[in-house]
Symmetry: C2
Subunit: 601 residues, 2 copies
């Protein structure tokens, strides 16, 4: 197995050279931190990833969770990890000091999560889900609820989950039927079925806390009638002992990948004795849930690109060590074979992977920085970053998810037949990564969110703010001779993005929402390629800035490699916008007009 | 599980309406056949696929082959199938009458193989490999060798394989080291290691016949020293009893998919007692092997598109039955949910799958027809079809393989979370199909074959013949008003293909083969998209011809669906050539110039 699953050098390049995380310490909220501490945190995360998570990567896949006697059994590492993550402060890394957290910038906390996920995606899901669920209670729950549930979650003793999906309500959340009946006490009685609940039950913790969507009896139909509840697997009885809360794990799914983490089916309140506690106001559940959902969506993008990064380094290592064939210009069969990295087509596959992985990671960290700016700035200055996050969330979720799969597939291809066998990790990466375009809202859902909501929200203000960010990068890039031509290409692409967007808005007016959104998925792809091109130019500025100073041979090679990767993205990926723009400008309504009966044959 | 895994209607459309297989019966070689017989053969294949192959599809995946006591054990269906395929004449469907075959047109035999592979890809590999191996002996082996091995193979009693790959010689076949030492008898002594041998050992047959590449001691280095041998697992002793031939199955691979068929590692001649019989002349092995290889390469394309077809019908069935969400323009949550096929984005995913599957199948059948024309025509008229097959083979192998994966992935996406779980077949299709861009020459190898050999062979004669075929289709299409605009788009693309090709040939002259072939994979993709567009126009002509006559409501809907799919391909897929052409015209040598050390970080 490969020894390297991420690049510390590239991570620090992004943190310190591109996004200047140290500058955040100039704001009150982050003033107690400094670079030395960030480095220590990254080192500690790397050690934890290498010592605890990485060694179980394949093992957890080969021994997936099992349901026995109503209890899901998981790999023993999970319990150990939850304890270590709790004690080590990894679950509370983003939590404010006054709630006993580490108050780290998201840039740094997300970098750590990147390391964890690259080492073992399934493993990180357990603490990752707990972070999100606890944060939701912290944000919208009462002090009582906080005290009852959150400290145990932050300590890694209790698992957090997000329980939305039901058999008849997946992408269409408005159709959930899980019912909440008020009682005379402080709780509701919950009854229903939930499916596809990640980490929804396991024996690595003493309790599981579901953040669950349900409808209070008599609530309005649709999304306006959805409330958010805390529904634990076990609740305290009068004597403070944990007792069953009438939730049965009725099944565990057998999945293509992501097998180290159970996804379960829950039967809730079969004996009318499942208690749930309302979070915040009734009927506001979806709004609350979307805080967690949005965090998770960027987290999915991060997870996707973590796996793609690990796959890239595995295939790079293989390409360096595997000898096969000779130069095309030198076919003498008596000469020794060359490492396959000498072949241009293999370098192309490696550059593709690197361009996707490092470009996507940059976009995710751009989002992390916006979150940090929101936290660091006074309320009236936060809106800009809030809106930038709103418009970039579907992109940061989908581009890494979709292109991560393509990237991993190329990594597998570098291995030839060995990539198809489980002697090497590529086949697992290939399986694991396929979840990302599905969970936390499919790519199609993200596309409708981007074009149907985010681009037009507040009269296009989020979109305008985004364009201004990219334009600011372009104008900075023009100061460097080596970037001038590339900056112009990005500028041209940005003009095309505006043209396409305006064209689609006209379709919306003339032909209505069906036609407007018919090719939303292509628009998302189009938007995503340009966003990654932007991030590469941003990296280009940092590279060129570094190269104006003297640097070590090692650094020089690193920056050269980055420049080739940047050029690769502009040479091979950005041109894909040509065909997409052509399609998006056509507006022939083909998929709207295709009738169901024409699928019969 | 889905009930439908292919469309009989579409298959007959291609056979009778597009490629007019009945016209072949006008030639002497196929004169004894007629449509009624073709229909009977297709019906019998369908019945066999439904009754025998399809029911074991998931079971063979869940219970993969195991190596125990030196013997690979496979699913019991395999032995039964080999027997039925042997007795039913399915292994000899393309074999001439005078060798006791059915002498069916390849168009029909390949259609049957399509049905088998769509039902159970792994299962069909066993007879499929036997067909190819036996055909190789038939073509190049002596009468003695034929009599000893082929009848048992055609009877389904003995398995055939293709044994090329070695630990240090995968893509680089010139580096094989398996040795053949002459003896005083009619055989050689063989010694070496072979890996990745499909169906290389199993208990469903009484013997396995390897068509194996080896080097006779003292042979020239490289490909010019490769000979072809028949090396059976068991050989006859003096008493006509089958005894061991000193081949040990040293391992069976654990694979991502394609699990119903074992891929094994062989240790040959450990006790210096493995006998092999030379096929044809010494040192001509690779040339012989390439007959089988070329057949298999088109077969890989067919296999890829068979799986993609089965995946399409499974997702279509799900999209029709699964209710989720409402029209974008109609959000009233009290209305019932709609089948997801009502959503334009789902129709887009289905049309994409259909466009890939039916377009690719058409290209494969175009190749089948060329094979049939070669067989039907006198020798001096065969060259045209031989050259067309030469240039189209890498395309027919790679386009379905690469786009099949993308298509199946969209099929999986239609299922949402269910697509990721093994309650539905999509996750298996997704795993099974990933082998295709790898085996029988990776996509990168196919790309170098296309651009580096086929396009330039015989002063570009194959390429010219191909262009003429497409142009002839374009001029026929212009006669139909509805196809005129699309025919023009294909014409434009064909012009672009010529421009790009000429540009690359200039690069070859100026900068040498490394730069010439650096983006060969992109050229293959570019070439492939245009080839499929051609096939869609060819189908368009058949559709429009049919629509000029009266037709049933069912047929009308079928043709309408085909027209939408054709338009989908031109609207969504053909524009991808824009970005590819842009890249291919750049010639900046980026991947050639990228230095290995720049990958360090």
């Amino acid at each position: 197995m490969s020894e390297k699953f991420f690049s510390e050098r590239n991570l620090k390049f992004l943190l310190y050279e591109v996004f200047d995380v140290v500058a955040l310490t100039g704001y009150d909220y982050y003033q107690t931190h400094n670079r030395k501490m960030f480095d220590m945190v990254l080192d500690a995360a790397t050690k934890l990833a290498k010592d605890l998570l990485w060694p179980s990567f394949a093992e957890m896949d080969r021994n997936p969770p099992e349901l026995a006697n109503g209890q899901v059994k998981v790999h023993p590492m999970v319990g150990k990890m939850m304890k270590e993550f709790g004690e080590g402060g990894w679950i509370t890394s983003r939590v404010p000091f006054d709630l006993d957290g580490e108050q780290l910038p998201h840039l740094v906390a997300d970098a750590c999560e990147f390391i964890f996920q690259a080492a073992n995606y399934s493993a990180n899901a357990y603490p990752g889900l707990t972070v999100g669920a606890a944060h939701l209670i912290e944000s919208f729950g009462s002090k009582d609820l906080y005290d009852t549930f959150v400290p145990n979650m932050y300590a890694g003793k209790w698992q957090g989950t997000m329980a939305l999906t039901e058999p008849e309500a997946g992408s269409s959340l408005s159709d959930i039927t899980t019912a909440a009946e008020p009682t005379d006490e402080d709780h509701y009685l919950i009854k229903g079925q939930k499916i596809f609940i990640s980490a929804g039950d396991h024996d690595g913790v003493e309790n599981v806390v579901h953040l669950m969507l349900a409808k209070i009896k008599g609530a309005p139909a649709g999304v306006k009638g959805i409330s958010l509840f805390i529904v634990p697997k076990k609740r305290f009885d009068r004597n403070g002992r944990l007792v069953s809360n009438d939730i049965i794990t009725s099944g565990v799914y057998h999945k293509l990948g992501y097998r180290g983490c159970p996804i379960v089916q829950l039967s809730i309140g079969d004996h009318n004795d499942c208690r749930g506690w309302l979070v915040g106001e009734p009927h506001n559940g979806l709004k609350y849930m979307f805080q967690m959902m949005n965090e998770f969506r960027i987290g999915v993008g991060l997870g996707a690109i973590s796996i793609a990064t690990a796959a890239y380094y595995a295939s790079l290592e293989y390409a360096i060590s595997r000898r096969q064939g000779r130069k095309i210009s030198q076919k003498d069969p008596t000469l020794p074979q060359l490492p396959i990295i000498e072949h241009a087509d293999v370098k192309r596959m490696l550059l593709f992977q690197r361009a996707i992985a490092e470009g996507s990671l940059s976009l995710i960290m751009q989002c992390s920085k916006y979150v940090d700016m929101q936290k660091a700035l006074p309320e009236k200055e936060q809106e800009k970053y809030h809106l930038l996050l709103e418009i970039l969330t579907p992109v940061a979720k989908s581009y890494p998810s979709e292109m991560g799969i393509a990237s991993i597939s190329q990594g597998l291809q570098c291995f030839g037949g060995s990539g198809y066998c489980d002697d090497y990790p590529l086949e697992q990466y290939y399986r694991d990564a396929r979840i990302h375009p599905i969970h936390e809202g499919t790519t199609g859902i993200q596309a409708m969110d981007l074009l149907g909501r985010k681009v037009i929200m507040k009269n296009g203000r989020a979109f305008m703010l985004y364009l201004a960010e990219v334009m600011e990068t372009i104008s900075r890039a023009r100061e460097f001779g080596t970037l001038e031509g590339l900056a112009q290409e990005l500028d041209d692409a940005l003009v095309k993005l505006q043209e396409v967007t305006q064209h689609l808005l006209k379709i919306a007016q003339k032909q209505g929402p069906e036609h407007f959104l018919a090719d939303a998925t292509l628009y998302l792809e189009f938007f995503g390629i340009i966003a990654i091109a932007w991030q590469w130019i941003l990296q280009g500025i940092a590279i060129q800035t570094a190269l104006t100073n003297e640097c070590s041979k090692t650094d020089f090679n690193f920056y050269q490699g980055k420049m080739f990767t940047l050029r690769y993205f502009f040479g091979y990926e950005l041109p894909k916008t040509e065909g997409l723009a052509k399609r998006l400008m056509s507006g022939d309504g083909l998929t709207v007009e295709m009738e169901n009966k024409f699928f019969n044959d």
